[in-house]
């Protein structure tokens, strides 16, 4: 599983970083960035799905 943040859509609501700080970080402006190459370890897959489901701007996508 791999996560992706669309930086055009992200408005810095900070939901993903709050839910899954092991997968997402935020820059100085509060916009989300994926950690590393966005690969999700098996034990964090549920967190990744929750981050996607809570993003108000539909900025997160997951590819399997």
């Amino acid at each position: 599983m791999r996560i992706h943040v669309d930086s055009e859509k992200c408005q810095g609501h900070n939901r993903c970083y709050a839910i899954a700080p092991d997968l997402f970080d935020v820059d100085d402006y509060g916009n989300a960035i994926v950690i590393g190459d966005g690969s999700v370890p098996a034990e964090l897959e549920e967190k990744a799905r929750l981050a996607l489901a809570n993003c108000p701007e539909f900025a997160i996508t997951i590819s399997e």
Binding site: Q11, G12, H13, N14, Y17, A18, V26, D27, D28, Y29, G30, L50, A53, N54, C55, P56, E57
Partner: protein
């Protein structure tokens, strides 16, 4: 500042919420959930001739579309009132909330860093200390067997004190700040001349604070704004004042309302209160659910040019309300939308807006809301409304929350 002295709307009582609505009518916020549900079934975009023409979308889809459409809708004024200010796009009177692209992007980037999640997290100990100071005072009344007003004695003091500290303004001016906020956000349908005078008073106060910072420079948010550069130049004084006005106004009634509504919910839903006390690990989802259901902020836009919006003939300079709380209660977007589920894990709510104007202070608001509720229920695990709903006074205008919330706290 309380709101029961707010004059009734100059337009008189509302005859029909679909064709004559008035968010300045005290009935609107008191019965908001009911009114939005009724409108959702009748006419998803309501219209009223009041305030020179106002539209009210209530579905998530419509609110979202308008929030994203900065071509047809301008933010140059975001508070519906009897006066359409002559502030011009794309800057507006209180950037970046009143700004449109492309200026908006530049202005917003200036003020994002001090409000980023990591910077705001540094304020947590200070917020917690403040909440406990307030609770110490409240506890004296509780021990004396007296009813306490959770909105007046607790919730309202938290955001005003935090933002005054961040701006480096005199803490003893907090009553004055609340008065400014009342003038801007609640006295929306009074006489236009009074509104203009109020704005002049606020402006004079802010200019004096900026002068004081120029004479005695210090490391706070006001100092930051005075030194930050836009296109290689420091900001003109009027723009610094505009930014400060936004930070002062936007964070006070809103967060006060979110804290008050959350405590109102817990006072009226003893099962949720007991569960939250027993399972504090639910605080994260509970706070997001309170934000969804009781989202305090309805934003506004002005129609930028005549156009058709889903069959509605919108005319330039008409107002459009953006009720994010109504979007959050849309059953087309949320399962069991009308139920408050404090363990809801999937919650894509729009309490802080959608699109480029996402609430700048959302990280601060969340911090204050979470800490305020955490500390309140830790100190007072059992409380209920003291005089039922009759004792609760709701705000008037675009910010919705209880302004008086008398509760009876079980002895501690």
């Amino acid at each position: 500042m309380t709101t029961h002295d707010t004059p009734a709307s100059i337009y008189g009582p509302v005859t029909d919420w679909a064709t004559d609505f008035d968010h300045g009518d005290p009935e609107y916020n008191r019965r908001a959930h009911e009114i939005w549900a009724e409108l959702r079934g009748r006419c998803p975009v309501a219209h009223s001739d009041r305030y020179g023409g106002t539209w009210l979308p209530v579905t998530h889809e419509h609110v979202r579309r308008i929030a994203y459409d900065t071509e047809n809708f301008t933010s140059r004024s975001v508070v519906v009132s009897t006066v359409v200010p002559d502030d011009q796009a794309p800057v507006g009177g209180a950037p970046p909330i009143t700004s449109d692209p492309p200026f908006h992007h530049e202005a917003r980037r200036l003020v994002l860093p001090p409000f980023s999640p990591k910077k705001i997290a540094e304020w947590e100990p200070e917020v917690r200390r403040l909440c406990n100071e307030l609770l110490d005072r409240v506890e004296v009344d509780v021990k004396g067997g007296r009813v306490v007003d959770a909105a007046v004695a607790y919730a309202q003091h938290i955001p005003v004190n935090v933002i005054a500290r961040m701006l480096g303004f005199p803490l003893e001016d907090d009553d004055l700040f609340r008065e400014f906020v009342h003038e801007i956000l609640e006295n929306i349908n009074g006489e236009p001349e009074n509104r203009i005078r109020a704005f002049e008073r606020i402006d004079a106060y802010l200019m004096a604070q900026i002068d004081d910072h120029a004479a005695n420079p210090r490391d706070d948010l006001t100092g930051y704004l005075m030194n930050v550069e836009l296109g290689g130049e420091k900001l003109p004084k009027e723009m610094v004042a505009g930014f400060i006005l936004l930070l002062l106004v936007a964070g006070i009634d809103t967060t006060w309302s979110a804290i008050g509504s959350s405590l109102w919910h817990l006072a009226t839903h003893p099962d949720d209160l007991r569960r939250l006390v027993r399972e504090p690990e639910l605080m994260g989802t509970a706070i997001e659910e309170f934000l969804r259901v009781y989202a305090p902020v309805t934003m506004a836009r002005l129609v930028a040019k005549d156009h058709d919006f889903d069959g509605c003939p919108m005319k330039a300079d008409e107002w459009v309300l953006l009720p994010f709380p109504a979007a959050n209660l849309d059953p087309a977007e949320f399962e069991h939308a009308d139920q408050v589920l404090i363990d809801r894990v999937e919650n894509r709510h729009a309490a802080f807006g959608l699109g480029i104007h996402r609430c700048l202070g959302s990280n601060l608001a969340r911090l204050e809301l979470r800490v305020a509720v955490e500390e309140f229920v830790k100190r007072f695990p059992e409380f209920e409304l003291a005089h039922g709903e009759d004792g609760v006074v709701w705000s008037v205008g675009q910010i919705r929350g209880p302004r008086q919330l008398p509760v009876r706290v079980a002895s501690v």
